[in-house]
């Protein structure tokens, strides 16, 4: 019998232990703009901190225990408790440290916290993945893992942390930025899908078009995002000044219009590629049989080709959507708003927790979009053995 039953867990526990020992769990700074002094986990003066050892030890046991379903469930629960416990400890410690410090002082989450929390989260996700439950159950379990953290935040237990104080000071700005961000992504995906899918179908039907179409889309994809924004600046500005109607509608060299346009151009490649790949993998024999039995071309497309191509097509849209969530951050540089505005504001004033306030929801959005599309694709009937 092998001693190590779960190498992923071994790696995560080792990395977590190293992070706990070597990296600061929290940092304390006299104000929000200077780099703080690190406080390691061992330096914390809280007797309750030892409670966290319990789920940590359980996780370590999960490495060597036989990888039964019961072990995996225990690992998932232990990792969830560890994650919640880490967040709770950070919040509680920040509160007690802040109470003893001047109001301008900031208690921030340190590298040790982030790495530990990441390890705990990955351990939980990995255990859920290994349980091989249905996609819906997997998604629910993935949400459940984060529930303790959400509950702690909602209860105000984390209010003393610098991140929470940045949020408290910008509640409205944050909400607007989040909505803007999602709106920009949605506004870009709509034209992308309505152009990309027909373009993909056309490229599939006419092999001669495929080369040029992909050559152009690939070329666009290689242009750096900032350069593309720059390239669009002049023509859109000219267009807006030539057509006052457009200008009144908000079209200009900077702002939302070039962002949506650039995102659309970027997103076309994955969508067109997904459409062509989806249609290509439809078995030729099924199409021949359908034709031979007397189905019309339209019916073959609706009943056979489209449903069989759809999951692959959707994977293309998923990639486009995740990519757009990330690219929209950069769009803040040309005044499109969104979460990127927080990031660049934070960078400009070297307030790292403000940067984090912008980046964290971007990551969460990406994960959520990815999971949502995967769930949508897997609801379909299995296609191959």
């Amino acid at each position: 019998m092998r001693l190590v039953g779960n190498r992923v867990l071994l790696t995560l526990v080792a990395a977590g232990a190293l992070a706990a020992w070597a990296l600061p769990f929290l940092t304390r700074a006299p104000n929000r703009l200077v780099t703080g002094v690190g406080i390691r986990l061992a330096q914390l003066a809280d007797p309750w901190a030892g409670v966290l050892l319990l789920p940590a030890v359980l996780l370590a046991c999960g490495i060597v225990l036989p990888q039964s379903r019961r072990t995996l469930v225990i690992v998932a629960i232990a990792a969830t408790l560890l994650l919640g416990g880490l967040v709770w400890l950070a919040g509680a410690q920040a509160a007690s440290l802040a109470a003893a410090a001047p109001p301008a002082a900031r208690i921030s989450l340190g590298g040790g916290f982030w790495l530990l929390a990441l390890c705990a989260w990955l351990a939980a996700v990995d255990a859920i993945e290994r349980l091989r439950v249905s996609p819906a159950a997997r998604t629910l379990a993935g949400i459940a893992v984060l529930m303790p953290v959400v509950a702690l935040a909602a209860a105000g237990e984390l209010a003393a942390l610098s991140l929470a104080r940045e949020y408290a000071g910008r509640r409205d700005v944050f909400a607007t930025a989040l909505v803007q961000h999602v709106a920009i992504v949605a506004a870009a995906l709509l034209p992308t899908v309505s152009i990309g899918v027909p373009l993909g179908i056309a490229a599939f039907r006419r092999a001669r078009w495929r080369g040029p179409v992909f050559a152009v889309l690939n070329a666009i994809e290689t242009v750096p995002s900032l350069a593309l924004f720059g390239l669009l600046l002049t023509p859109l500005a000219l267009l807006a000044s030539a057509l006052p109607g457009l200008r009144e509608a908000g079209v200009g060299g900077i702002g939302v219009a070039p962002t949506v346009l650039a995102l659309t151009l970027y997103s076309l490649l994955p969508v067109v590629r997904g459409t062509v790949a989806g249609l290509t993998q439809v078995p030729q024999s099924a199409v021949e049989a359908a034709t031979g039995m007397g189905m019309s071309a339209g019916r073959i497309f609706r009943k056979i080709e489209w449903p069989l191509a759809f999951p692959v097509l959707l994977a293309g849209v998923r990639i486009a959507a995740v990519q757009a969530v990330g690219l929209t951050v950069v769009a803040a540089l040309i005044g499109a708003g969104g979460l990127g505005a927080l990031v660049f504001q934070g960078l400009a004033s070297s307030a790292l927790d403000l940067v984090l306030l912008g980046v964290a929801p971007v990551i969460a959005l990406s994960v959520a979009v990815d999971a949502g599309f995967r769930l949508l694709a897997r609801r379909r009937v299995p296609v191959s053995a």
């Binding site: 078995p283 030729q284 024999s285 099924a286 199409v287 021949e288 049989a289 359908a290 034709t291 031979g292 039995m293 007397g294 189905m295 019309s296 019916r299 009943k303 056979i304 449903p307 069989l308 379909r380 009937v381 299995p382 296609v383 191959s384 053995a385």
Partner: protein, 310 residues
């Protein structure tokens, strides 16, 4: 039922079918046979207009096939292919129901038809109707493919090497099924193969093609006894003509009633080819013969096989 009149077809200048004339009567089982590239599949696909002929005329039920809309023509002809082409996202039931669905049959009738066909092809309906193609073996998939081709109760069944990719045991079973279906339904069947044994076993008439031309058409016996030229002789296998002739007949007419023979008996429905094999394997010259219920009928003598009837 189907009539080729001086039909020709070229692909990019290369002649695929050259002056093909062939008349297929209702209820016939015609096998188109030839080497790869002989044009047999092209000839078959011209019947349901998957390939359009560019010279001559093809008549279906008395009318030139171009007078039909392709979809309407195809709905009246079942079509089964070697790669089967089941729709992977549909259940067995949905696959078989595809053509009845196109024909707009009522739901209850479609359901009954699916049950009937699955039974006909030896697939227990309760067990198979809601399965997906990837859950079936190759042989089961081809059974579903044949059931689907029969579903709309077509006048004609077109089959393009339907058993080509199956193992010998499964192929044998499916050949027996299709022979039985032909016998009971009286449907006109046109089947393409390159397997001479399959052709001899199934066909009422064999059409042998080479380089897009019809070399010989005739019953299996005519092909074996009077091959038109050396090509035909070579195709059926010069050294095996006698054995293959024996394969065309059953034991029954050769039985001497009342005669007895020692040892295990042979069924009256077995072919003479099987009987010869048994003679040689057992090193005897007489075999006891029984009917389907195992009752003794008499004996078969090796000498009678050589002499033939009459």
């Amino acid at each position: 039922m189907i009539r080729f009149e001086h039909v020709g077809k070229s692909f990019a200048g290369a002649i695929a079918i050259d002056d093909l004339s062939l008349s297929i009567a209702p209820g016939e089982f015609v096998v188109l046979i030839g080497r790869s590239g002989a044009g047999k599949s092209t000839a078959l696909k011209m019947i349901n207009r998957l390939v359009e002929h560019d010279r001559g005329r093809i008549l279906f039920a008395g009318d030139e096939i171009r007078k039909f809309k392709p979809e309407e023509l195809r709905l009246r002809m079942g079509y089964a292919i070697q790669s089967i082409g089941l729709f992977p996202h549909w259940t067995v039931e949905q696959n078989v129901a595809a053509v009845p669905d196109l024909l707009g049959w009522p739901k209850a009738r479609i359901r009954d038809r699916v049950t009937e066909l699955l039974e006909l092809l030896g697939l227990a309906p309760a067990q198979f109707r809601s399965r997906y193609p990837h859950e079936l073996s190759g042989g089961q998939q081809q059974r579903v493919g044949v059931a689907r081709a029969l579903a709309g109760d077509p006048d004609v069944l077109l089959m393009d090497e339907p058993f080509g990719s199956l193992d010998p045991v499964t192929r044998d079973a499916l050949q027996r099924e299709i022979a039985r279906i032909h016998g009971t339904s009286g449907k006109t069947i046109v089947l393409v193969t390159h397997d001479i044994d399959e052709a001899l076993r199934l066909a009422t008439r064999i059409a042998l093609l080479d380089h897009g031309r019809l070399v010989q058409v005739g019953t299996p016996r005519e092909i074996l006894e009077r091959p038109a030229d050396d090509f035909v002789t070579g195709f059926v296998g010069k050294g095996e003509i006698g054995i293959k002739l024996l394969g065309l007949e059953t034991v029954a007419p050769y039985v001497r009633p009342g005669a007895v023979a020692p040892g295990e008996s042979i069924a009256a429905t077995a072919t003479l080819r099987e009987a010869l094999s048994t003679f040689v394997a057992r090193r005897v010259d007489r075999l006891a013969v029984v009917d389907a219920d195992g009752r003794p009928l008499g004996a078969l003598s090796l000498a009678d096989l050589v002499k033939g009837r009459g």
